[in-house]
């Protein structure tokens, strides 16, 4: 899938995450997290795994994490992807486990 325009999902409340997607070459993830030392790799893995399922290979991802759990990160990323690809009305059930 292709990123059509910049879109974001999520808030900066604690235990939430705000994810902004914009057009880019290849996948680049810019992570800002209070728990980066402990969970930075895991957060990036959740993001790249989900992007792969959507077959998105060119995107700039900006993640501002406030200690969100993996399920929250997935939910916010899915919302951001749907917004950035104009597919809000076409649920991709296949990406959900």
């Amino acid at each position: 899938m292709e990123i059509k325009h910049t879109a974001l999902a999520g808030t900066l409340e604690s235990s939430d995450v705000q994810i902004t997607l914009s057009e880019g070459k290849g996948i680049s993830i810019d992570l800002d997290s209070q728990v980066e030392k402990q969970f930075g790799k895991q957060i990036k893995k959740v993001v790249t795994d989900l992007l792969a399922k959507y077959e998105i290979s060119d995107v700039k991802v900006h993640v501002v994490d406030k200690g969100a759990l993996d399920c929250t990160i997935k939910a916010r990323l899915i919302a951001a992807i749907q917004r950035a690809t104009d597919t809000q009305n076409e649920q991709n059930w296949g990406v959900l486990e």
């Binding site: 235990s15 728990v35 030392k37 402990q38 969970f39 406030k66 200690g67 759990l69 993996d70």
Partner: protein, 513 residues
Amino acid sequence: MLNKVNREIPDEILKDKNYKPFETTEIGNPETTYVAHNVKVSQGNDKLVDSIKDVIAKVGLKDGMTISFHHHFREGDFVFNMVMQEIIDEGFKDLTLAPSSLTNVMNDMVIKAIKAGTVTHITSSGMRGSLGDFISHGGLKDPVVLRSHGNRARSIENGDIKIDVAFLGVPNSDAVGNANAIKGDAVFGSMGYSLMDAKYADKVVLLTDTIMPYPNTPASVKQTQVDYVVKVSKVGDPEKIGSGATRFTKDPKELKIAKTVNQVITHSPYFKDGFSFQTGSGGAALAVSRYLRESMIDKNIKASFALGGITKPTVDLLEEGLVNKILDVQDFDKGAAASMANNENQQEIDSSWYADPYNKGAAVNQLDVCILSALEIDTKFNVNVMTGSDGVLRGAIGGHQDAANAKLTIISAPLVRGRIATVVPDVTTVVTPGDSIDVLVTEVGIAINPRRKDLIEALKDVPGVPVYTIEELQKRAEAIVGKPEKLQFTDRPVALIEYRDGSLIDTVYQVKD
């Protein structure tokens, strides 16, 4: 070598600093000798000094000396920064800073003093914010020594901390040094921690904005102890000394924890007429006193005393007749500080009386129930209140190790905070050994230290209070947040955590970034 809580203590630190590794929470009956201090005899008629600059000259401050302060003004402290700035300006070097603790308002000045070479050694109860960050990144060559309030009293008495000059801010004093903290603009109630400095420092300087007619009573600090009194414009900001009106938490998780803590107390064998308790501050602790009040009225049980850092809800219990006495080493809010002037049963105690392991019996040894918090608690019940989940110094031992001597020591803590587990396989830093912890209360249930078979029996059928092993709670936390990567440290120690008897319980290393 490995100490008894399985922490690797570098041999060179044991040797160079003459430390013993932590062995046991049992203090026993060792013999000790208290040190004396020097007295420059005075008739008391010319103690009043106009400026900090003048008093520094009069006390004969020299490079390499140890200076002390108290932290009773908390975030409203003006005294520390005023005095420290002057000491830096005059170019003093290589001082040891030995305050009762360091609050955020002092952070920038401490960093400045370290960078100027004015301060080269620190001992404190704790540190947080920018200073904790600075130290954890290797800002000070010599590791900071962190001690509990009781251990600081012990160390002052036996000379491990030898204070050359104590600079003590007070809300009022007369011209010869009779002072208290219950009158004036910047009242903070009990002078608890600073009373040790007044008693043992070679030179004692009081700084105040309010000079009272002689004799100023009640006198917490006495004219016999004081060398000089300095009049300054303002010692503190009353709005920031204590939190204002205490509001009870509305957070359902904290309320659930508080309710469970209360159930643990009321179903324990200690909940009977004449029991005693320490609750501390913080949302859940305050809520506990509300539930405890109801239970005490229901069962017609009164407490003999409440101990420790005191808050308004505890004073309310005193005024209601549910608590007979308060033994008060520190006041956390305005209500508690202000009431000390009116309640003769709110007794000011110094930190030796409060918690010192090496005297002829401290108040903590009489304590039945104690509620403490934790940044982390591990499956051995060891508690960390010092380093954050990133390994950076951001807390204080306070009275944690001391009050954990209570017959029933309860840790109240949420299972997880955001993505950080509170119940972990191994705490980052051991501050209070698991041997002194009895029950962990979380929002999902409790875990009881296996050593306490009596409590396991007493608490097995409390309605709505499921009992887990601490391993089960740890796994439950991990299932929510995942498995964190191990923190990375360099091999350079930045802080030494003493146990209350002066042995070394853990070492904090510089963080790797």
